[in-house]
Amino acid sequence: MTAFTGAMEKLSGQQREQHRILIPVLIVALALMSVASVATGAVKIDISSLPGILLGSDQASARDTVILWSVRLPRTFLAMLVGASLAASGAVLQGLFRNPLADPGLVGVSSGSVLAAVATIVLGQNYFGETATRLLPVTAFIGGLLTTILLYSIATRDGRTYTATMLLGGIAIGAIAMALTGVLIFMSTEQQLREFTFWSLGSLGGATWAKAGSVSLFMLFALCLWPILARGLDRLALGEAEAGHMGVNVQILKRAAIVATALLTGAAVAVSGAIGFIGLVVPHLLRLVMSPRHRFLIPAAALLGAILLLAADMVARTIVAPAELPIGIVTACLGGPVFLWMLLTNVRKIET
């Protein structure tokens, strides 16, 4: 791992220019990974029989067909969409904060979404009954939005965003959100508690086509903001004043970035709980091998995020089979050490 990342760090700009092939490579890798994900699980499905099942051939076993269509495929799609959302929102958030350490999980945006989601589970059901659960993606989005706005206004003074303030502010917001979440849990019924506990550790179990559909809807909204973001975030890397001098409407850009982050994080949190580190690690790794221009970085991050979450989900499903490990544990095991390594190689830049 260290040797691998060390080698990547040495890529000069000249060599980096040749990494235009990266996005096609990622697309191919994602295709292979999704086939592997569909075939893997408690019940092995032979890869050679996949086309038959998908095309509805008579020779396909009925059992395999059911497993594939109602379990594996929705789960694979959901993992791809959630991974892509988390990584893309990480890339946007890092661009907005001009800081490679920003991550929706780390700076408290996820915990804001979690709080809103728990409030929906616990309070909402008392007042609205079952409709509340269907509102979950929307409330998680609003929770993420409010948290991002709050964090940005805390960490930014005179157009400069302070790293230490951002990280500490994120911890504070996360702590407050967690305390409030705790209060709600205290109030919850046994059934709600179970629902929440599984959900909060992060899981892609219970994936349905409806869930995958709602995430893709949110991603579609966020995609509409991509042209504004791709154009503006590169210039924002020079600072707010400079971006303004270069013709960027900084206010619109910031709002677009905050809304996009909240949409993507909120959607991901709503369907899969708080899955950490994907948003932090993916854009950072990519910037070591490719141009940091957001036009390429954001789609590449979405692809790599999808690949990594598929891989993590495969580990989560198989390592303790027939039981299942919460996927948040898998991503934290991988992401924690990478985050430490990022801290150690960036010490100088962070101490401002």
């Binding site: 000069s12 490679p100 210039r235 303004g244 001098h245 960027v248 900084v250 940091p292 221009r293």
Partner: protein, 259 residues
């Protein structure tokens, strides 16, 4: 073309800029000098819209600065700030191209960037990572980025270049290169406003010198008249001697007599 009318600016209770009136013209290099804390950078930030004046108005090409939208203004005036940090690993080529607007032809883009690399003595740097360059090299990359911002767009409309201490990190050869390059850019459509510390560079390159002291413009005149013993000595608190050198001026002072 660029006018400041009775502009003042207060930070908290401290009056940083008081009642400044200024006109910038195209085809002229206006150099601003003054001691630390005189208000030079604040004046530049006010003129570029980075700060809003607490009194007075600023006009550019017949419109007040607030009436311009950011994108329109970006094609007509470019700004080099004193300290600009860059967070992500962009190459020199990428940093310079940030100055160019979206949607120009790749061919034109390449030509402009090549020209900028040449002008600012950055040949062979285009694929280097910006963050790995020395301070002086980074400053030249930023200059290239800022200058190329004015290379596209309407050629017949007045444009202005604002540079806050553009040579502060440069060796002598590159100080000369950069200021000569800025002079070459001057045209009936382009003027420049440059903050400098080195009085001899001001004497060598300025058409007009604005002297700022304690938030006020104490002198605004053509170079030969603005640089005189009395004003400079009073403003900088050091005995200054301005001597004629050909058509230009040289400023000398005794290094041990500050105070």
């Amino acid at each position: 073309m660029f006018h400041a009318f009775d502009v003042s600016f207060a930070r908290g209770r401290r009056q940083v800029i008081s009642d400044m009136n200024l006109e910038l013209r195209t085809d002229e290099l206006t150099v601003v000098i003054g001691p630390n804390g005189a208000g030079k950078s604040t004046l530049l930030k006010l003129l570029t819209g980075n700060l809003k004046p607490s009194g007075g108005t600023i006009w550019f090409d017949g419109r007040s600065l607030q009436q311009w939208n950011a994108r329109e203004l970006a094609g007509r005036r470019a700004v080099l700030s004193q300290s600009t940090s860059l967070v992500f690993p962009f190459t020199v080529h990428e940093v310079i191209s940030l100055g160019l607007p979206e949607g120009i032809y790749a061919q034109d883009k390449r030509a402009i960037i090549q020209e900028m690399l040449h002008v600012f003595d950055l040949n062979g740097f285009e694929h280097r990572l910006f963050q790995e360059l020395s301070g002086g090299e980074q400053q030249r990359v930023h200059l290239a980025r800022v200058v190329c911002q004015l290379k596209t767009g309407e050629a017949d409309k007045p444009k202005f270049l604002f540079l806050d201490e553009p040579v502060s990190n440069l060796d002598i050869k590159h100080q000369i290169n950069v200021l000569s390059a800025v002079r070459k850019l001057l045209s009936p459509q382009l003027g420049a406003f440059v903050i400098l510390h080195d009085l001899n560079l001001a004497a060598a390159y300025a058409d007009r010198v604005v002297i700022v002291h304690e938030g006020r413009i104490v002198s605004n005149d053509v170079m030969a008249r603005a640089l005189n013993n009395k004003t400079l000595s009073a403003v900088f608190g050091v005995d200054m001697h301005v001597v004629k050198a050909g058509s230009g001026r040289r400023v000398s002072y005794n290094a041990h007599e500050a105070g």
